[in-house]
Symmetry: C2
Subunit: 201 residues, 2 copies
DNA sequence: GACTTTTCTAGTCATTCGGATAGAAATCAA
DNA sequence: TTGATTTCTATCCGAATGACTAGAAAAGTC
């Protein structure tokens, strides 16, 4: 009934992810999007409603996948697993292949600020989800007696800030070891919350 | 001997700060810079070497001032003062008038990434200076017996991440109270490092 | 094979961007 | 007052951008 598209939705979005992460929304031209994704500007316009619509679709796909596959599991993670999760964010495997980290979210915040309602709503949901999961993990750790009696609401917020801050470092890093040092420091903070964590923070 | 400029360097840079913070480097056109700073594109070109040169001058002025007037004092701050410093970052007075916070640095990172040597060198120096100051404060707090024996190197890095992360929240905030809650949580983390800090983390 | 629908190709369009320039206007020393 | 120097005003420029469009090309239905 109709001609087939050269590039299917999923692979196009996957390619767009890298492009938007590397160059930002404004820095990625529609002609570059054509090249990298295989989509045509025509399809960009008719199927996605233009560049911005396509970006929002990409952001959605990204956030959904990160939430589903990359976020810490609130039902099984203990403090050690949470610490390891932060370490792995800056792991050598991850940094070159960024597609599963929170970087696109962070980039979008810095580029759109509070101006764009659509983007903002997505980021808010995303950060809220992360915070809720982390808080649940902390609450379970307290209930299990694994953790000192800290304020889980406040420390969950601190970990959101640390997630964002670490992504800034990853983005700005001059060498990979810097990001890894920061990730390890965050992990040390979390492990320091354990009841018998020894002298370390 | 020569005609006077309509706008002097300092007020132009001050106006440019707000513009670059609000819109980013790419988002601020030379014509907007003309309007907001009073400079002409001619002067932008002849005196600053174009938009990028002017931006670097602005960034320099900003980082220098932040370091001189806004950074925590490594010789006098104790843990409570450091905690209060983070709280004040998201204070109601500060958020509307952004000029003294670290936001331009954070924006620059997200916009230029690792691409621009000039920008990167400045950010690295800036973050390094902040980290060194914080570490000195932590070391003094340990030496004075005010603080539990934590790893000052790692926790200084954590506080750098928190500074960056808090600025992301400030930039993305839907309402001011969110940023303030995050700032208060960071302060709670720091106060929890005190030796007799009670049960709170 | 004819028809319908969708995508592709190739090109155009107005706009905006950073930068450049020529001549007028200001400023001050001599 | 003259002259030298610098900035301002008012354009102009080429390049790039997002969007749009007309006709060709596929793909499936009948």
């Amino acid at each position: 009934m109709a001609r087939k598209r050269k590039a299917d939705h999923d692979t196009a979005v996957a390619a767009a992810l890298e492009l938007f992460w590397a160059q930002g929304y404004g820095g990625a031209s529609t002609r570059e999007i054509e090249e990298k994704t295989g989509l045509t500007r025509f399809t960009l316009q008719t199927a996605y409603g233009g560049k911005e619509g396509f970006f929002l679709d990409t952001l959605d796909a990204y956030l959904d996948r990160a939430e589903a596959h990359s976020f810490p599991d609130p039902e099984t993670f203990d403090l050690d697993a949470l610490a390891a999760w932060f370490e792995q964010l800056a792991g050598s495997k991850r940094i070159p292949a960024i597609d599963q980290t929170g970087c696109l979210a962070f980039n979008s915040v810095s580029e759109f600020g509070r101006d764009n309602r659509e983007v903002n709503a997505r980021i808010e949901r995303y950060l809220g989800s992360f915070e809720a999961r982390v808080r649940r993990i902390l609450q379970r750790a307290v209930a299990d007696g694994q953790m000192r009696d800290i304020n889980t609401e406040q420390m969950a917020r601190v970990l959101v800030d640390l997630l964002l801050g670490l992504h800034v470092v990853i983005k700005a890093r001059s060498d990979d070891s810097m990001a890894q040092k920061h990730a390890k420091s965050i992990a040390a903070l979390i492990r320091g919350w354990k009841k018998n964590g020894g002298a370390r923070s």
